[in-house]
């Protein structure tokens, strides 16, 4: 058993993938705590698809995929934030049209560009944790560290604004800026995770471990910590499945995360609560009070 676990870690490139997987599992769950509670999963999915087009453009133009993905995702996050704060109504349809169109452009560009470029963009669709290079790992560590650091700095404020944006703003917190910050953190998290889990499944990596944690606790901080634990467990479990079964790591990691969720949902203490959360899905902007 120990040999079986240690074998892939003997190779430097696999050890890199292992470390990256844990880091990504943790960041996704920490950010995912807000995403689950604020019902932002759809926005996360949109950001991932838009990031993909940024990656394709980066390859065609010959610069780092991180830069392409980051620019695309952060710009999209700012756009989504502006739209949802201005109208205050459900913006799902406009976001859906916008992100599908940009993703479609990415797919077309990929097909055109792939004849001249040998790099497999396919791995960004479905994730390939085993191909994380040294500078990839450095980027993951730096960007992930920044995300975790910012959440630590603004922990109280993000909690207040997520729970009750109207009163948080009236008490003097910069509510709109903090909500925008959350969107930017989400977009950075998406970009950092794309290599490991792929565009298609990034949102599951963000949402599932936190949702699992939600079933087990009534406390925000505990939910975040448990989510990070489940995220890391899923990432590590998926890493081994991916290595031994030779399947894309995104599928393997998300499958483990979903299994964990299913187990907790079946034997855990507050099964009903999750479905309540899933159906209520609070809107991010709540500046109207019914008279």
């Amino acid at each position: 058993m120990i040999d079986w676990l240690m074998e892939p870690l003997g190779y430097t490139f696999l050890l890199r993938g292992f470390v990256a997987a844990i880091m990504i599992g943790v960041i996704c769950a920490v950010v995912g705590t807000f995403v689950v509670l604020k019902g932002m999963a759809f926005i996360g999915d949109a950001l991932a698809h838009i990031a993909f087009t940024g990656i394709v453009v980066a390859f065609l133009a010959g610069f780092s995929f991180y830069i392409g993905a980051l620019i695309a995702a952060v710009l999209a996050a700012l756009g989504i934030g502006a739209v949802s704060q201005r109208t205050g109504i459900s913006t799902d349809t406009s976001i859906g049209i916008f992100f599908s169109g940009i993703f479609a452009a990415g797919i077309v560009l990929m097909s055109l560009g792939i004849q001249t470029y040998t790099i497999d963009l396919f791995s960004y669709l479905f994730g390939d944790i085993l191909s994380v290079r040294r500078d990839d790992l450095i980027s993951i560590m730096i960007l992930g560290g920044i995300v975790l650091g910012i959440i630590l700095i603004f922990y109280k404020e993000l909690l207040f604004v997520s729970f009750d944006p109207v009163v948080a703003e009236s008490a003097g917190l910069p509510a709109r800026k903090l909500q925008m910050l959350l969107l930017i953190l989400l977009s950075v998290t998406v970009v950092v995770s794309v290599q490991a889990v792929g565009v298609v499944l990034v949102v599951a990596m963000i949402v599932t471990p936190s949702a699992t944690a939600y079933l087990l606790t009534d406390r925000f901080g505990v939910m975040m910590a448990l989510g990070a634990l489940f995220g890391a467990m899923s990432a590590v479990g998926g890493f081994y499945v991916s290595y031994y079964a030779d399947v894309p790591s995104g599928g393997a990691i998300v499958l483990v995360a979903t299994l964990l969720f299913a187990i907790v949902a079946i034997i855990g203490p507050k099964r009903r609560n999750f479905w309540k959360l899933a159906t209520v899905s609070p809107e991010p902007s709540q500046h109207q009070h019914p008279a």
Partner: protein, 274 residues
């Protein structure tokens, strides 16, 4: 009858020196292109307990939002303790309808602690004095035993008291309560008013929006009649007149005075529209 009621400009002789707690100067505001408040003029002395009265849609919540700085004025301004009003812990606001997600994983204690966050500032964590303030605030609203309950596991009245405790934890000098006693039983209502009396003696200026006229007539030292603009402001015995009430509510209400108590009922001979 169409002239501005004289109580509007009347200042009480025992007014404390220094700036008014809340000074509203020629305030107009609204949503999109619809004006909701027009030329609101108001000066509230520190430590007042004011009942804000008006029918649904008369702009009570909007007036509160301009006082907290959530709703920008189109014209005129709001001064808080002599300074232009902007969002901050000085003015604590308890909205009429909390739009929070009740399944959010926070406890009563954590919710009340949120009232401390704006005063703490970034990267500063709650310390012993903050925990004491939270405990004290929960005691004051009679929710001391519920600190570790998840917020969704409370009744409607208990939730409202928790949000009141959060407002108290802000240590505000001004407290704005938007219909806090709707959906609260009579005992709790009584406790809340005892608490408000107590706060006012400590110098906290409190405005309570309500459409329960009888309650306001008995509980407040000052009454503010609002419908688009101020129709009257002063002690209940001066302001709660048949004429001013009918103007505010645009309907027919009967004032009953029994001894020194005032009751307001709808005139059964007239159709009442809200």
């Amino acid at each position: 009858m169409e002239s501005v009621p004289e109580v509007l400009s009347e200042q009480r002789s025992n007014l404390p020196a220094g700036p008014a707690a809340i000074q509203v100067e020629d305030l107009s505001t609204g949503y999109q292109d619809d004006p909701v408040l027009e030329h609101v003029q108001l000066s509230v002395a520190p430590g007042s307990l004011v009942g804000l009265i008006g029918p649904n849609g008369s702009g009570k919540s909007t007036l509160f939002k301009t006082m907290t700085g959530l709703q920008p004025p189109w014209q005129g301004r709001v001064l808080i303790n002599g300074q232009p009003g902007r969002p901050g812990p000085e003015v604590a606001y308890v909205p009429q309808t909390e739009t929070v997600d009740w399944s959010f994983p926070v406890t009563v204690g954590q919710v009340v602690m949120m009232g401390r966050y704006p005063r703490l500032g970034f990267l500063r964590w709650p310390r012993k004095p903050d925990h004491k303030i939270v405990d004290h605030a929960l005691e004051m609203v009679g929710m001391g035993g519920f600190k570790s309950r998840q917020i969704g596991q409370l009744s409607g009245g208990q939730r409202q008291r928790v949000f009141l405790a959060r407002a108290l934890a802000q240590e505000p000098s001004i407290l704005l309560l938007d219909e806090p006693v709707s959906g609260v039983d009579a005992t709790t209502q009584h406790q809340i008013f005892e608490l408000l009396d107590h706060l006012c003696k400590d110098g906290v200026t409190t405005i309570v929006a309500s459409h329960d006229l009888s309650c306001v007539a008995q509980r407040f030292d000052q009454v503010l009649l609002l419908n688009r603009t101020v129709h009257g402001f002063g002690p209940p015995e001066d302001v709660l007149t048949q004429d001013l009430l009918n103007r505010t509510f645009q309907s027919h209400l009967l004032l009953l005075r029994l001894g020194n108590r005032t009751f307001v009922v709808e005139d059964p001979d007239h159709f009442h529209h809200d």
